[in-house]
């Protein structure tokens, strides 16, 4: 009964939230672009044509109408690479959050619900993890495991669970003293059942917000690692990698660097707005 009353209210608030709606629609658009990349991209993003290198985009003279945004230093269609780049950014973003969320939430739930020694141990792990310089450790791990999409997702997933852990620990702590959980314990419900079927659904809203903000964080980190040459491996069209490839030509062809950077900004901005909006409508108890 109560659920039915809350839901429409939530929806109404959502629809009225500018940040949520604008961020959300851009994210949906980007996801569509990523999913439909093979249909949308005018060319194969990997196909090189050394006779048509560094063609300028449509607003600059000397352009080629078949390459709307020009071509890169290997004569690959830039628009197609940008479109496929959305796949990498979003794929890595969601992939990493899947891994890190699983780790972080499990640790946080256990620490927050059981407290005591478990909490001390897990809190210690969180503190240790927070004190590691994340970019450097990720770089080192990728350098040694060999750069590939799978390595990158694993490495970042294993490193970026801290926010999930902190949030779910706090949520679990506040929920464990609530009456319905106490009641379940009293009637002898299994711990696993309480953890995953009762606690988890109750912190759903908070976790979705964290997840969104983490996706943005991961996208930026992937771009930075790829920019430094230790993320996604060429010739994969990652926006971070494209920025670094355009760097040599930045004086004469600044658009090679500007375009992927702009795409990155828009996506991260949209995901952040979506996260902020979600936080606003779900009560904003989180930082």
């Amino acid at each position: 009964m109560a659920e039915e009353v809350i839901r429409p209210a939530l929806w109404r608030r959502g629809l009225r939230n500018v940040a949520l709606m604008s961020g959300g629609s851009v994210v949906v658009l980007m996801v569509l672009v990523a999913v439909l990349a093979p249909l949308l991209a005018p060319h194969d993003p990997y196909s090189q044509d050394l006779t048509r290198r560094l063609l300028p985009p449509f607003w600059i003279e000397g352009t080629d109408p078949t390459h709307l945004l020009g071509t890169d230093h290997l004569g690959r269609d830039y628009l197609s690479r940008l479109i496929y780049g959305a796949r990498i950014s979003l794929g890595v973003g969601f992939g990493v959050v899947l891994v890190s969320g699983l780790i972080g939430i499990s640790l946080g739930l256990v620490a927050g619900y059981f407290g005591g020694l478990a909490d001390m141990g897990i809190s210690f792990i969180i503190t240790t993890r927070l004190s590691l310089p994340i970019v450097l450790v990720a770089l080192a791990a990728v350098a040694f495991a060999g750069a590939s999409l799978a390595t990158l997702i694993t490495v970042l997933g294993l490193l970026l669970w801290d926010r999930f852990a902190v949030v779910s620990r706090a949520a679990a702590q506040s929920l464990r003293s609530r009456d319905f959980i106490k009641g379940l314990r009293a009637i002898g419900a299994g711990q696993v059942r309480i953890l995953f079927l009762e606690l988890l659904p109750n912190m759903r809203a908070a976790l979705i917000v964290v997840m969104t903000l983490e996706v943005a964080n991961v996208i930026l980190l992937e771009a930075a690692l790829s920019f430094l040459g230790l993320g996604v491996r060429a010739p994969t069209p990652s926006w971070g990698l494209m920025i670094s490839e355009g760097r040599d030509n930045i004086l004469f062809d600044p658009w090679l660097t500007a375009l992927p950077g702009a795409a990155l900004c828009v996506l991260v901005l949209a995901v952040n707005l979506l996260g902020d909006g979600l936080r606003d409508i779900t009560g904003g108890r989180l930082k």
Binding site: Q48, L50, T51, R53, L74, A234, E245, D248, L251
Partner: protein, 504 residues
């Protein structure tokens, strides 16, 4: 809207400092030079990088000078020389040479400098430059003898560039660090000020001996600055704040060509793709000659050379630089022909393609990617593995890199002896170990008859081409960006000689 804050802060900062404009060029007789890499401290004996060595060669002189046009050695601090016995060199020194600090140059300077830098504890960077000297002896004030520790064919090369003479009293007093801090030499320019690694100001030394082959410098002042970002250098070159820069990638050289002078000079270095039939204990598709030939046919070397090398670079017809003695193009050629490549692969049993790990080092990634893309078109899937040069070479030697894409500079020497024997002479880098081939090379390297040498090298190059052990790519060039007023002549040894430059 957002960067507004950034902009405000920046413009504030910019106004606050208003960088002092650099006075440039012809009008002030100042040559503004930019390097991307920091020159090392200016004691030649401890420098590895080209930037520091170029500066040092303006400040210091050695006993000899190599004339690049005739390939002969001339006296620089020495007037004449002789070889009384195979392990002794005797030099008569010039009498009219003065150091930048006013000290007169005598035999003591030669003896003191060389006897100091040959000591292991001095820490001379390249042992090869000094380890052939046993000791140096003063005969009289203007005669010295170098007693050699071993016969060394490169002795004159070393004396001509790598063994400058320091003023002995000053050198003894201040040591290596002091020399680097305030260099004193006999060269055509003297260093008047430096912020180490950042900025160097050189001024023409008018006290130079008129007999010196380095005499006759025209430009009064040279200002050398380190600017790591090439794009900044382009901008300054175009705006006239810079007169000289180098190592401009071909794409940028093309864009700059209409606004400044671009000079492209060929150098000895060549790039190539090594194919090892024996990598991974013979368990590689490359052990089949047809697969190696298919690789050679699959790569569009013309397009790659045009796109990425540009300038004075040439597509190589054999595994050697055409400028080298012994090089010939009368060997089997592999034209770009993807269909033939596919046919060869099918014949060899790889109808559905194959996968090939390719290591590359010291080559631009785009070139490696272009090769990989060409190979992909005929069904060869390449896994690119970029390594630092040393790591790449060791992987090759350990036979873990069936395909190794890299380059070789032949030590800047115009003779294939310095190229072929390294890769096919039976040494560590020779994975083929063809006894007949290394026999020809050995004979050619040690023979004195040029015709015999040529014939041997031709046989060797034919064998290498027939077996497709190497896919030769292209020769390198260096692009220089010059202001329109500057007249500058590049040399294949990549040493800038500003004492030969002048304003137009």
């Amino acid at each position: 809207m957002t960067p507004s804050l950034t902009q405000i802060l920046l413009s504030g900062a910019a106004v606050a400092m208003l960088a002092t404009p650099v006075l440039a060029d012809k009008a002030s007789d100042t040559l503004n030079v930019a390097f991307s890499l920091e020159p090392e401290p200016l004691d030649t004996y401890k420098i590895a990088g080209r930037e520091g060595l170029i500066l040092a060669r303006h400040v210091y002189d050695g006993l000899l000078y190599k004339d690049m046009d005739s390939g002969t050695f001339k006296g620089l601090l020495a007037e004449s020389w002789s070889q009384p016995d195979p392990l002794t060199l005797e030099f008569k020194l010039r009498r009219d040479v003065t150091f930048h600090n006013g000290a007169a140059f005598t035999a003591d300077d030669v003896v003191d400098t060389l006897n100091t830098v040959i000591k292991p504890d001095y820490g001379t960077r390249y042992a090869i430059s000094v380890d052939w000297i046993a000791r140096v002896e003063k005969v009289d004030d203007y005669t010295v003898r170098i007693h050699m520790a071993k016969p060394f064919a490169g002795a004159f090369e070393m004396l001509a560039g790598s063994l400058p003479i320091y003023p002995h009293a000053y050198f003894d007093a201040v040591g290596s660090a002091g020399m680097a801090k305030a260099p004193v030499g006999t060269g055509p320019y003297r260093l008047v000020s430096q912020e180490p690694g950042v900025k160097y100001v050189l001024e023409r030394w008018d006290g130079i001996s008129p007999e010196s082959p380095k005499a006759g410098a025209q430009i009064k002042t040279i200002v050398v600055r380190t600017m790591p970002e090439l794009n900044t250098q382009y901008a300054e070159l175009m705006s006239g704040k810079l007169d000289w820069m180098w190592r401009i990638p071909p794409d940028q050289a093309d864009r700059l060509a209409s606004r400044v002078q671009i000079v492209s000079a060929p150098i000895m270095r060549i790039s190539f793709l090594n194919l090892a039939p024996v990598a991974a204990s013979g368990d590689t598709p490359l052990k089949d000659l047809r697969v190696r030939q298919a690789v050679a046919h699959a790569i569009d070397r013309d397009a790659i050379t045009r796109a990425f090398a540009g300038g004075a670079s040439e597509v190589l017809k054999a595994f050697c630089n055409p400028a080298q003695f012994g090089c010939t193009d009368a060997v089997t050629q592999y034209a770009y022909d993807p269909d033939k490549a596919k046919a060869l692969l099918a014949e060899a049993g790889y109808k559905d393609g194959l996968s090939l790990p390719m290591t590359f080092a010291a080559m631009p990634r785009p070139v490696a990617e272009a090769i990989a893309a060409d190979l992909a078109k005929v069904g060869i899937t390449v896994q690119l593995d970029e390594l630092q040069y040393a790591a790449g070479v060791s992987k090759w030697r350990e036979r873990q890199a069936p395909a190794f894409f890299s380059n070789w500079g032949s030590y800047g020497v115009g003779d294939v002896a310095f190229l072929l024997s390294n890769f096919f002479g039976g040494g560590a880098d020779d994975l083929v170990q063809d006894a007949e081939l290394s026999g020809w090379l050995h004979e050619a390297d040690t023979a004195t008859d040029p015709e015999l040498r040529k014939a041997d090298y031709a046989k060797a190059l034919s064998r290498i081409a027939d077996e497709a052990w190497v896919v030769p790519m292209y020769s390198f060039n260096v692009n220089y960006g010059l202001s329109k007023d500057l007249s500058f002549r590049p040399y294949p040894d990549e040493f800038a000689r500003f004492w030969q430059s002048s304003w137009k």
